[in-house]
Symmetry: C2
Subunit: 334 residues, 2 copies
């Protein structure tokens, strides 16, 4: 550690950690320098993505899960809360305050909310950088909480080793409401608010969706076995996403969820999928940084007046956007 911030973060200084997270989020030179130094110390934490539509009680579930990890002071837990779909909402900040009250006074939990970075790529990049800092600082697990079930959540879910998708009765009744994209990414499915009516319907809808997406599940039904027992009878290298019930506000089902998350981590390590996910994640991060760097170089290279002139030609529709892009990038038409 040659810089003070990196050293302070590794030594467990919470204030230094909070400051560095801000620097990293703002992408300052100091933040990048500290990240470089911390990077060799990363790769230890279990990254858990938790995503679900608004109203599923996802934030309560994350809080309850974090408290569960803290039982007996066993683990230091980081929570990164991200809302990619509401650039203007400030909802993350509000959730943050509610949460601070819930989990306050526990030095073993660190919570950070992320505002949108204007673009999905920027958001995934900033979230990845945050997890590196927490990882190097010894937090494990790191919970990445995202709202919704769109493309943004799929991108953020790609950062995690284990992705938990949360539904609730009454929201998931319409089969359309469960997005295929996020279900493909789900390692564990949770029906939260399971004390509400309609829990069986939601569970049934999720099972049907899983059967569509996972041929291995279909074969279970074929042989007439119980769905719940399915995974013991299967190829141990194939992970069948389990469906769990929780009531987060009362903590019901949360220890079972933590156990399934751990079972998934063990599955990933045993099959080599853990290392594979790490590699995919780092490659995606590198490609995002390369793209950012290419755009920055381009901005420095192309003169403002040249850009404005070409853009004007496009506005008057005498130059097509395709020819304009060629001109700007290669300096010639077509």
């Amino acid at each position: 550690m040659t810089t003070a911030p990196a050293a302070a973060v590794v030594s467990g200084n919470r204030l230094a950690l909070a400051r560095l997270l801000t620097e990293v989020e703002d992408n300052t030179a100091g933040g990048r320098e500290a990240l470089r130094e911390l990077f060799p110390r990363t790769g230890r934490a279990h990254l858990i993505g938790i995503t679900g539509a608004p109203g599923t009680g996802k934030s309560s579930l994350v809080n309850s899960l974090a408290r569960n990890y803290r039982l007996g002071n066993r683990k230091r837990v980081a929570i990164v809360a991200v809302d990619p779909s509401s650039p203007f909402s400030g909802g993350a900040l509000l959730g943050d305050r509610v949460r601070m009250r819930d989990l306050s006074g526990d030095d073993g939990i660190f919570i950070r909310s992320m505002a949108s970075r204007g673009s999905l790529g920027g958001l995934a990049q900033a979230t990845a950088a945050m997890t590196h800092v927490f990882d190097a600082a010894g937090y494990d697990p790191i919970i990445i909480e995202t709202v919704g079930a769109g493309q943004g959540e799929v991108e953020v879910a790609r950062l995690a080793h284990t992705t938990v998708v949360v539904e609730a009765p009454g929201l998931g009744d319409e089969i359309q409401a469960i997005k295929a994209g996020i279900l493909e990414a789900a390692d564990i499915l949770v029906v939260n608010k399971a004390d509400r009516p309609g829990v069986e319907n939601t569970e049934r809808a999720l099972k049907s969706m899983l059967e569509l997406g996972h041929p291995s599940r279909q074969s279970i039904r074929h042989h007439g076995e119980s769905m719940q027992m399915g995974h013991e009878a299967m190829d141990p290298d194939v992970w069948i996403p389990p469906i769990l019930r929780t009531v987060a506000t009362e903590g019901t089902g949360v220890p079972e969820l933590a156990a399934e998350i751990e079972r998934h981590a063990e599955h990933l390590r045993r099959t080599g999928a853990w290392a594979e996910r790490e590699r995919q994640r780092l490659q995606a991060e590198l490609e995002s940084l390369v793209q950012q760097s290419l755009v920055r170089d381009f901005r420095e290279r192309v003169k403002e007046e040249q850009y404005t002139k070409i853009l004007g030609d496009v506005f008057r529709r005498v130059l097509s956007p395709w020819d304009a892009a060629k001109l700007l990038v290669d300096g010639k038409r077509r």
Copy 2:
């Protein structure tokens, strides 16, 4: 017109149009060439974005609206249906077939569903290119239908002159369920399925959200005037998003929606916002094409083995992603 496809599309050949749309979606050389030729003929159509969560009856509303535009054969209507959040669903294709049945036999309507392009940027780019083709072929209006209310929909909504956000009773009760991001982009709000119970609640929730987002609306309430009457009393250059009720399956409220859409287009033209939106749209399109081109050049420049070696160093955590990006882009560290 020097190429046959472009000329055939302009002359109204539906088969040539269908073929060109496929070429454009697949980003072939022929598609790009035809786009270049067609581009000077674009800029006439009114682009209407219609977005809403699954279950709001958005597709029925789009169909009903298209039929309304066709009354008396007045306008040729194009529909581009996009689902950015479900890369694997095939839902768009299913919706397409239902729709073909609904609107079949009318040569004045052309419907095209879009599969996700793998990335949001790619999707918005392909959607923009599609609208250019329809525009040059004389379709007006062009309806861009998107599912959901995430970042993806906001990006696609940016393509439109007029953005209609569809809600339905029972979905919008929770204030969280209405995403601030998409509401910011809304020019017109529709409560569809307005014959269902709970329509007043949904309308009230939308009004509260609008009051939060539009200070001008708040001032109306301040003066004790009716919200419904508000916009007549206001600065005519400020557009206050109206809230309409429809029952798309019966066509109820659809002529009124078409009238509001037209009123919005007139507002945009009068205030100069129409040209401003066109410029923003073309600039975003150009920047997306530039980015694509930069990445393609990079891929050609960097040798596969060099990339693999650097990526391996990142995997072993001896090189940070930030240093790796520098190395790849500039050929040197830091």
